[in-house]
């Protein structure tokens, strides 16, 4: 990889299926690349120290914290953010639909991270029981403490329960 005179480096990364070729400083974090360079502001910067889960993204399908990754560490890899969860025609994933139908969010700031983390869970374990859901989602904090709705939404997506089910206030 060639560094330019000012120490910037070339980065090739696929984000939500689109290949991006950028020239960035070595110190650029993935979270800042996504939000500031690519305009993908769905990924939130919460604690910025890897604890809260608001910046959860998938790197080659694995759940990671975008705030703890140098952008150059994802050289040549494929990143999925919350903007990449819906189908290209805009139709929502089963998890997204379930979060709407079952009250999976309150203020919404943690929701992108919750959705990305839950997507990783179902890719890893398609039929988790409630204890497995709770264990996996431990790293995604909700300051509104809306955990019952989040767990209910994921469980609803697992059992294929569509919208309604008495949850639409």
């Amino acid at each position: 990889m060639a560094a330019s005179a000012d120490g910037r480096l070339a980065l090739r990364v696929t984000v939500n299926g689109t290949l991006h070729e950028l020239t960035i400083p070595g110190s650029r974090l993935l979270i800042d690349l996504l939000r500031d360079d690519l305009g993908l502001t769905g990924t939130k910067k919460g604690c910025a120290i890897g604890v809260c889960g608001a910046c959860s993204v998938l790197v080659d399908g694995e759940l990671m914290s975008a705030c703890l990754l140098l952008a150059l560490a994802v050289q040549g890899r494929s990143v999925t953010t919350v903007e990449g969860l819906a189908a290209p025609d805009g139709s929502l994933s089963a998890l997204q639909a379930a979060f709407i139908a079952h009250g999976g969010f309150q203020c919404g700031i943690c929701t992108p991270g919750q959705l990305v983390a839950a997507t990783a869970l179902l890719a890893h374990q398609p039929d988790p029981d409630e204890a497995e859901v709770r264990a996996w989602m431990t790293g995604n904090l909700c300051r509104c403490t809306g955990y019952l709705g989040i767990v209910a939404s994921i469980r609803a997506a697992v059992i294929g329960e569509g919208p309604a089910a008495g949850a639409g206030e």
Binding site: M1, A3, G7, L9, S27, L29, L63, L70, T138
Partner: protein
């Protein structure tokens, strides 16, 4: 954060060369879960960051001819947790790394970064000490191995020489007769650093004596450490409750914790005694094989 140049190393030899050329200006990057925090807080201020994720094969987990498990430095904790070889030969290690922080952190954090960072509150060192693990390193003067027991020097300090890179950790697969018990005491939240961690390994003898054992402790001293006096109190004896209680007191006397949000130093000393005793009981429980 001061701008730095980033070198994605294509080989260990290249990484060693870059470290040698830049001296203290250069830092290694493994998974980044600790290093990126140190960067953001200004606690490290490198001119050059050498990335190890681009070195092929550095995350390999394999069994060598001598039956030893060799875990490459860049293997993530999540990968170690789920690896079939680890689950088969070292279920105790799989269990311990599976309790570190959260899924996200386990997917990023590496065993090499974990050990080389030498944060005394990390979870893997005590079980690796109980397993008599050895680390492999490469540096300007070649390759060498360092017993983990003499690897940790002080908070954030290891026996690695300047310019040396930890490349793997090696563990002999224990015989099925050997028993383990591990504890991570977390009074706050499950994703927190531990207040105390304990790893106990018991090598039983057919006559009921404890032929050999390890008691290793984490988060309660500047380095992860073995409670050697407590081990000596039990080794060669048929264990009973009084013997274990006495050994747990010796473990308590061996630690040197500091006050923090996870407890006062006095509390951590007492919790060291309590959890060492419980771990010893669990490892020695006749009907139970605790992984």
């Amino acid at each position: 954060m001061r701008p730095f140049s980033y070198v994605p190393a294509a080989s260990l030899e290249e990484a060693v060369g870059v470290l040698a050329r830049h001296g203290d200006e250069a830092h290694l990057l493994a998974g980044g879960t600790s290093f990126v925090l140190l960067l953001q807080q200004g606690l490290v201020d490198p001119g050059v960051v050498v990335g190890l994720s681009s070195v092929p094969g550095l995350n390999t987990i394999e069994r060598d001819g001598a039956g030893q498990l060799r875990i490459g430095a860049m293997a993530t904790l999540g990968r170690i947790e789920g690896d079939p070889l680890v689950r088969d030969a070292l279920p105790c290690l799989s269990e311990v790394v599976g309790r570190v922080a959260t899924v996200r952190i386990r997917n990023q954090a590496t065993i090499g970064g974990n050990l080389a960072h030498a944060d005394p509150a990390q979870d893997p060192p005590p079980i690796l000490l109980a397993l008599d693990a050895v680390v492999e390193a490469i540096g300007p003067s070649g390759r060498r191995t360092i017993p983990l027991d003499s690897f940790f020097v002080d908070v954030f300090e290891t026996a690695l020489a300047p310019g040396e890179i930890l490349t793997a950790v090696r563990v002999a697969a224990p015989s099925p007769a050997i028993r383990f018990a591990t504890v991570k005491f977390l009074p706050r939240t499950v994703d927190d650093f531990a207040t105390v961690t304990v790893a106990v390994r018991i090598d039983p003898s057919p006559d009921g004596r404890v032929a050999d054992l390890r008691i290793a402790l984490g988060a309660v001293a500047p380095v992860p450490l073995r409670a050697v006096a407590a081990e000596n109190a039990i080794r060669g004896h048929v264990p009973d409750e009084a013997l274990l209680a006495g050994a747990a007191e010796l473990a308590r006397d061996a630690v040197d914790p500091f006050d923090d949000v996870r407890g006062s130093a006095d509390y951590k000393r007492e919790m060291t005694r309590v959890w060492t005793l419980r771990a010893l009981r669990r490892a020695l429980a006749p009907s139970e094989r605790v992984a």
